[in-house]
């Protein structure tokens, strides 16, 4: 029974739980309830991945209406894995949340916070799971709208303007996607992805489809914050509550990357995207520019969250760089980095949340001597930061290895060299934290502080353990990424 309806349960569970959050009395039961829901969602995701690994893609007709008329939920290796990632980050972040939320969000708003969080989770999971192009737009808006709300909960008033700006840009991006989907529908008369893929073959020489492709690409690169369409990201990450930042930094942009892969490779097909439209001519320079500009900006930030936000823009550059090669190794690099970066950035932002909880600031200047004041959290930050640099025995190294291999395979030595140089820029901005935390003395007037509670430490260390463990045991991430890449390039829907 459960096994047959896994795909819909995955969505329904957090969706229905969201309004219940607001109703639960007394409020102290909200978090335990949300916690159970989020871990159950993770369990479902794991079962679904297991099922896909055992018996191939799952197709689920919503309400019994067969595709292409009804909405189809389709789970294959790629999205099963993205779903697992999103559910994992969701569960881990929610486990971490209560102390941090109590600190950063007013008491009476907390149930709404958890409700919005679950809605956001629903939206992100829905984007991944659906096999219907229009449905992607709907779920995209569910997740985006709840994200705007979540960001605006930040204590700083700049959170409001950040949320507003994200709303404007996010809506423009989503509307572009809607236009693209509409134009595709106009030419093919279908919205089912598999159906679209086969019907587009006949009409993809038309101007309409090419315009649709352009609208979709621009809309999606806006949502996934590819340079120079990243301007909404730094403020949103900086002023959102720590928990929200950790969650959206690890998942929202990644899910948009997934949609990009889905549209470009399975619906339009690599031949069309790379052969006819030459999307690589655009992606490659933008990705490289993003890596360099954002890393350079990150080096000069004085706010730790903003520093990491710019680093995210740079890391998205790596993911898109891998994708822009359009080869199996390149795609493997992109997909693997999508997972790996989510783990590392999640861990880093959780560490930042713990720092904020105790020190009440994330300005680098206020973190002098942090290595003495919060040794465990500082060490966690450094470990996750090493992954970002791409030091061996962390997941960052695995990503970088595949990315470089892809560049060299394609014969693009200069690109390989540029990627290496950019890792050194990551070294510089991570080292700014190291030097602040370990080399500056503890200020004399600093009150004594204790480490963040265990409930926050455990989720953070879980992500770090994954970020290191999966850097050694690569068969899970890189193995699946490679299979997904092979299968994306084969063009099968």
């Amino acid at each position: 029974m459960i096994a047959a309806h896994l795909p819909i349960l995955q969505i329904i569970l957090p969706l229905l739980a969201a309004p219940i959050c607001v109703l639960i009395r007394p409020q102290k039961f909200v978090w335990p309830f949300v916690l159970i829901v989020s871990w159950a969602t993770l369990g479902l995701a794991a079962m679904m991945l297991n099922q896909v690994l055992l018996s191939g893609p799952i197709s689920y007709a919503l309400g019994g209406w067969e595709a292409p008329w009804g909405i189809e939920y389709r789970v294959d290796l790629l999205n099963a894995f993205v779903i697992l990632l999103v559910a994992l980050i969701g569960a881990v972040v929610l486990t971490y949340a209560p102390e941090s939320v109590k600190r950063e969000i007013d008491g009476d708003r907390q149930p709404y916070f958890y409700a919005a969080f679950l809605l956001c989770l629903t939206g992100l999971l829905g984007i991944c799971i659906t096999g219907d192009a229009f449905n992607v737009f709907v779920f995209l808006e569910i997740s985006s709208l709840s994200t705007y709300g979540l960001i605006s909960l930040g204590r700083d008033r700049r959170a409001l303007t950040a949320a507003y700006n994200y709303l404007i840009l996010g809506t423009i991006g989503a509307t572009f996607i809607l236009i693209g989907i509409g134009l595709m529908y106009m030419m093919t008369g279908t919205l089912n992805m598999a159906d679209l893929a086969s019907r587009l073959q006949g009409v993809n020489h038309t101007r309409t489809i090419q315009v649709a492709f352009a609208f979709l690409s621009v809309g999606l690169t806006l949502k996934l914050a590819l340079f120079p369409l990243h301007i909404w990201l730094p403020n949103a990450y900086t002023y959102a509550p720590s928990v929200v930042t950790a969650f959206i930094a690890a998942t929202a942009t990644k899910v948009s990357v997934y949609v990009f892969l889905r549209f470009v490779f399975t619906i339009f097909g690599a031949d069309f995207a790379f052969g006819t439209m030459h999307i690589d001519y655009l992606l490659l320079p933008l990705a490289l520019a993003g890596i360099f500009v954002a890393s350079a900006v990150a080096i000069y930030q004085s706010n730790l969250k903003r520093l990491l936000a710019y680093s995210s823009v740079a890391q998205i550059g790596y993911i898109m760089l891998g994708i822009s090669f359009g080869t199996i190794t390149g795609l493997t690099a992109g997909i693997v980095h999508l997972f790996n970066h989510a783990l590392m950035k999640g861990a880093l932002f959780l560490a930042v949340g713990s720092i904020f909880l105790r020190i009440n600031s994330v300005q680098l200047d206020d973190l002098s001597g942090l290595g003495k004041r919060l040794p465990v959290t500082s060490f966690a930050f450094v470990l996750a930061g090493l992954g970002l640099i791409g030091v061996p025995l962390t997941v960052g190294f695995i990503s970088k290895w595949y990315l470089l291999l892809a560049a060299i395979e394609a014969g693009w030595w200069p690109v390989a060299v540029l990627v290496l140089i950019s890792s050194l820029m990551a070294l510089v901005y991570i080292w700014r934290f190291v030097e602040t935390a370990y080399f500056r003395p503890v200020p004399d007037d600093a009150p004594p502080v204790s480490e963040a509670p265990l409930l926050m430490q455990i989720p953070m260390w879980l992500l770090i353990a994954l970020a290191i463990g999966l850097g050694v045991q690569t068969s899970l991430t890189a193995g699946i990424a490679q299979r997904a890449a092979l299968w994306l390039l084969a063009g099968a829907p």
């Binding site: 090493l386 640099i389 791409g390 030091v391 061996p392 025995l393 695995i398 970088k400 290895w401 470089l404 291999l405 060299i408 395979e409 390989a416 060299v417 290496l420 140089i421 890792s423 050194l424 070294l427 080292w431 030097e435 370990y438 080399f439 050694v472 045991q473 690569t474 068969s475 890189a478």
Partner: protein
């Protein structure tokens, strides 16, 4: 103990010992005793591997596969055996020395010091036993990261600046060049295994081989080839035991060991000799040898002078590898051991002088031989070994290196070696000679040796240099087998 268990045990003993050391932090005596015990146990474990390896066995351990056809592999071959013996053996001496020094010098945070020290040794042993380039690279980077807290032990502005240079050069060369070269090799050869005779033969053009060799050589920043040598003198802000073990043995030797290993097992000396790809590397090595010696002469700070001397001596090993013939490889690998014994003694002496007399500048050291006869005696012996005079170990390695230069008909290399020996005399001998031939400084009162824990290890290592001259047999046996 079976060889495979021994490999794992040797790498893990110091690593697992590190948390133990950290736990015992409060009880200094117990902590120090445990450190020595772990060091001895590690050395003993490494020793159990020697008979098998000398007899031609190549025990190996396959761990997890990281990339397709590329796993974490440990395999013991003669060169790694030699390096592991040197590193683990000298760790014992250094541990004992470190207690005397750290306490005599009233250093803070000693537990953190011993903790990272143990991790660093573990990484060095891992590098020694690496069965492919990826494993070696992993250990290389762990070594860099674990020595960073040691180099910046004092947490001063000076230490911070030195740490920047240290991390900056070592990480940027290894990520910028070494990783690139590795991935290119993996792309060309499909593997990164260490295979006698190399894995690149017939797979790449001369031009690519030349570029790769330079990428590897400069990428191995720990070998301190000019112009990437700045980190070594900077790292001297560290406490002296760190300079002694890490910057005379573990870190720098991991660098040159990596280069020799790459030359022998990735390229193969035949390939290098045929294509002449090593030529440019020999010039770089020659420049570094002479440049290092010349700069050493201008330094008045004893540790700085020794640091530049190390830079120069390391390039002997690179030169031996770049000459690409059997004599060169034997000379290079012997020099890893010989220089280790000589240089560690010199650093020990520098530290002992600092502890006993609080002197760091050479110009202040006139006549101290009368206050510290044992220390300065050892200093003299070690200097002679570095210069390469019989009856000291350094003579053998230089002998083979010169032979290699003659065989390769590379007279610039031969000339450099001879000229450099003269320069060695010029910058090392005055220290020892002035110490003995000047009267004791005013206000001194008789013997003022450093604590026994400092003096014993340096006498032991100085004696080691002497013994290695008379009994180079086992060492030579190992060296002869390299690449077979």
């Amino acid at each position: 103990m079976s060889p495979t268990t021994a490999i794992i045990a040797a790498c893990l003993l110091p690593l697992c010992g590190a948390p133990l050391i950290a736990l015992l932090g409060r009880r200094e005596n117990l902590r120090d005793a445990v450190t020595v015990l772990i060091a001895v146990a590690t050395f003993a474990t490494v020793c159990t591997l020697v008979p098998a390896v000398t007899a031609g066995a190549r025990p190996s351990v396959h761990l997890i596969e990281i990339f397709p056809n590329l796993a974490l592999v440990f395999q013991v071959e003669p060169l790694g055996m030699l390096f592991a013996l040197v590193a683990s053996g000298l760790w014992i001496a250094t541990s004992i020395y470190a207690f005397g020094y750290m306490r005599g010098h009233h250093e803070e945070n000693q537990t953190r010091f011993f903790f990272f020290f143990a991790v660093a040794i573990s990484a060095a042993l891992g590098a020694a036993f690496s069965g492919n380039m990826l494993t070696l690279f992993f250990c290389y980077e762990v070594l860099t990261l674990s020595t960073y807290p040691l180099v910046t032990h004092h947490r001063s502005e000076e230490a911070k600046a030195a740490g920047r240079i240290y991390m900056g050069i070592l990480l940027s060369t290894s990520i910028g060049f070494l990783l690139l070269a590795m991935i290119a090799t993996y792309h060309i050869a499909g593997t990164l295994a260490f295979v006698p005779g190399g894995i690149l033969t017939g797979r790449a053009s001369e031009w690519i081989i030349g570029v790769l060799l330079l990428l590897y050589a400069f990428g191995t920043g720990k070998a301190a080839l000019m112009p990437f040598h700045r980190w070594l003198p900077s790292a001297m802000v560290a406490p002296t035991p760190v300079s002694a073990l890490l910057h005379a043995v573990a870190v720098v030797k991991t660098g040159v060991f990596t280069i020799v290993k790459i030359v022998v097992y990735i390229f193969g000396i035949d390939l290098l000799a045929e294509t002449g790809a090593g030529t440019y590397l020999t010039y770089v090595a020659c420049i570094t040898i002479l440049g290092g010696s010349l700069i050493a002469m201008t330094k008045d700070n004893l540790k700085a002078r020794l640091a530049y001397s190390t830079i120069s001596q390391l390039s002997y090993i690179v030169l031996g590898a770049a000459l690409a013939n059997n004599w060169g490889i034997i000379g290079a690998s012997m020099h890893i051991a010989m220089h280790a014994f000589g240089k560690i003694t010199l650093f020990f002496c520098a530290g002992a002088i600092m502890v006993a007399l609080h002197k760091t500048e050479i110009s202040d050291m006139k006549g101290i031989g009368r206050q510290m006869p044992f220390t300065m005696g050892a200093f003299l012996i070690a200097s002679l070994s570095i210069i390469g005079l019989p009856p000291l170990g350094g003579a053998w390695s230089k002998w083979y290196l010169v032979l290699a230069g003659l065989e390769a008909e590379h007279y610039i290399a031969v000339g450099t070696l001879l000229l450099s020996s003269l320069l060695n005399i010029a910058y090392l001998m005055p220290v020892a000679v002035n110490a003995f031939f000047y009267p004791a400084p005013e206000g001194s009162h008789g013997r003022q040796e450093a604590p026994l824990a400092c003096v014993l290890p340096l006498l032991f290592t100085a004696l080691g240099s002497l013994i290695l001259f008379f009994y180079p047999g086992p060492l030579l046996d190992l060296c002869r087998q390299i690449g077979r």
